[in-house]
Symmetry: C2
Subunit: 385 residues, 2 copies
């Protein structure tokens, strides 16, 4: 080994292995100190432009890439955000609200990348060691169950947590949710105006916020207008159970003349069930379901759907989370911000700030009786979905 090869001054005895250039190598090659290299590359410090550009050029020439691990260790920031999905089974993603999740995750990924963060997909059921092994700046939790131990632990350990779905008893930094009550009431009114006399509900048996709030809104509406509730609940994570429940609902003696299904496949299920019972949609049965899928624009008849606007949710959740991340540590320099990260603000404060976002009802033929359509949509070219 030549002296030049060892000019960085480290490892005087052991042989120099082939490795990526470090900041030391750049400093040595540029004839400046490590400090100067760091400052030059990060745009900090007081350096003349000439030095800055020279250092940058040398770094480029050596193919220098800063070590993310070292930077994370030093700064305490990894640029990584966890995306946690509540799982019903073995799989990392939930099946039930799949289109919703996919859209939401996509928007969240975009939003995060736009602000320089990347998303790590981490099912809540992951091995604990996986969670512990990753430096996360914060976590997005989709639809946390009532008492999620994972969320509690994350929050306790000081990691900001923002949930999609109003959390039950988990402490979170912030949350975002749709205004499910308003959405359900809007649908029920819509169906009433279309002539429905007895509106049924296809709902789930799980205790997540979405199911709970929607069902409560339905029951409240029934009480208000004096209609006997007509609903069937089934385990929403079981794809086969939906069809059975739809069948049950339409087989009841007090069969509804309109149904709202809370879950994505309900539209198809209800349509099939209606066919089996010889019910025409919308003539004998009005139909609405909650879905992000555009297949319902092409069914026979097209089905009115409620969109939860997952893209808006995903974007908002991520932005809130990053705000929290960057707000905590990059505060005004007051030490309080460092002495009292969120974990210490739990007691004494009120509930975490939440944001309610509107939903969108996409009205199609299935919820409109023979009367001419009220909402005017432009004629579509053939074949477009």
């Amino acid at each position: 080994m030549t002296a030049a090869a060892n000019q960085s001054g480290r490892r005087p005895t052991t042989s120099r292995r082939l490795e990526r250039a470090g900041i030391r190598d750049v400093a040595a090659a540029a004839g400046v100190s490590i400090t100067t290299v760091s400052d030059a590359l990060n745009g900090k410090g007081r350096l003349p432009d000439e030095t800055r550009s020279r250092v940058r050029e040398v770094a480029e020439r050596l193919g220098y890439r800063p070590s993310a691990a070292a930077r994370t260790l030093r700064t305490g920031r990894s640029g990584l955000i966890g995306l946690t999905v509540t799982t019903y089974g073995e799989e990392p993603f939930t099946f039930t609200e799949f289109a919703y999740f996919a859209e939401m995750a996509r928007a969240a990924t975009s939003a995060a990348l736009g602000r320089g963060y990347a998303l790590v997909v981490l099912p809540a059921s992951s091995r604990h060691d996986v969670w512990g092994n990753i430096a996360l700046d914060g976590t997005v939790v989709i639809d946390p169950p009532d008492q999620d131990p994972l969320v509690s632990e994350l929050y306790r350990s000081g990691v900001p947590v923002v949930s999609d779905g109003k959390p039950g008893n988990c402490p979170v930094t912030a949350w975002v949710d749709n205004d499910h009550e308003a959405a359900v009431l809007g649908i029920l009114d819509h169906l009433s105006e279309a002539g429905a006399r007895r509106i049924g509900l296809l709902t789930g048996t799980s205790t997540d916020t979405y199911t709970r709030l929607s069902t409560e809104a339905y029951l409240g509406w029934c009480a208000k207008v004096g209609q006997e509730p007509v609903y069937e609940a089934y385990p929403a994570h079981d794809p086969a159970a939906g069809a059975v429940a739809a069948d049950r609902l339409l087989a009841r003696p007090d069969r509804p003349d309109a149904v709202y299904g809370l879950f994505d496949p309900n539209g198809t299920d209800l349509l099939a069930a209606a066919r089996r019972y010889g019910l025409r949609v919308p003539d004998d049965l009005l139909l609405v379901c909650c879905s992000e899928s555009d297949v319902y624009a092409a069914t026979e008849p097209p089905i009115t759907t409620l969109s939860l606007k997952p893209r808006r949710i995903g974007t908002t959740v991520v932005n809130l989370l990053i705000d929290a991340i960057e707000g905590v540590d990059s505060g005004t320099g007051v030490d309080i911000a460092r002495l009292f990260p969120p974990r210490f603000r739990t007691a004494g404060t009120g509930p975490p700030p939440g944001t309610l976002m509107p939903t969108e009802l996409i009205v199609r033929a299935s919820s409109q009786r023979r009367n001419p359509r009220t909402t005017v949509s432009p004629p579509r070219p053939p074949g477009e979905m």
Copy 2:
């Protein structure tokens, strides 16, 4: 400050801030050295069980969580795998093969978690600083374009890269793909046996391996059996273009009596187009498309689909990648493995090892003719649905 409070020996002057317990704190509390704590928690070293469990208990009591950043810096391993999706537009996920991607990503996530790794979603179009800021042990690339600069740089910088889709000119550690040629030939034979005389193809204009190999297989088959190729190509990333192309294909004077569509929405598109031209499926037109969606089990008629078995692909890709990751550094201790990481093995070796995986044809009504047909009906202008 008391001597006891400072027994860890650090920060003799500045005041001790509220922070997560570190390994030093555990060592001090347990009355052992840092080494012992590390060994006890990681199951290394020679320690009596009594010491081991005592240290573990103290760590638990203090709520000790090892710093992932420090561990990564020290060990050079982050437990993070990049999942890169080629993007056609702004969005991080591609629309076109969405169900495929979703399934594949889900399987990949599962497989990775099962081996203690987590997946980071990183679109190829991400800001460069995001890529540089994350310590990745390896990367999965879905469907890399012919000359992907990102893949090249990753590979050059020593990060193992495994691609889903046989790579064009990118150097990768390994790749996995379906046997697209066999799949297409199988479908064409299947359609022939069902009575097809002229088989058309709905294909894409992009240059990815899937499109290219499939189209070539089709053209080769045509040449072999002496059929004039009948195909339409469209930009597969444009969801609206598929319907137009399907329409074009069925409007041709040499209208095919069977069509294979390479992309997921083609089944719906072709069905709609067939309806517009008054063609009955499967009587007048046999239909097959490549899709992972089970909506085709419920269409009228149900459509035969080719499944690329994305779950198998995702699992295989991740396992190959992790094998490469762990094989490189946890070798037999021979220094060669450390002196020559994959980046130095580029020259002189042959193409990277690839794995071809079988596809699965799910035969439904749309590709089975009830009674062999003899006449070809002339094209008609699009009428009412």
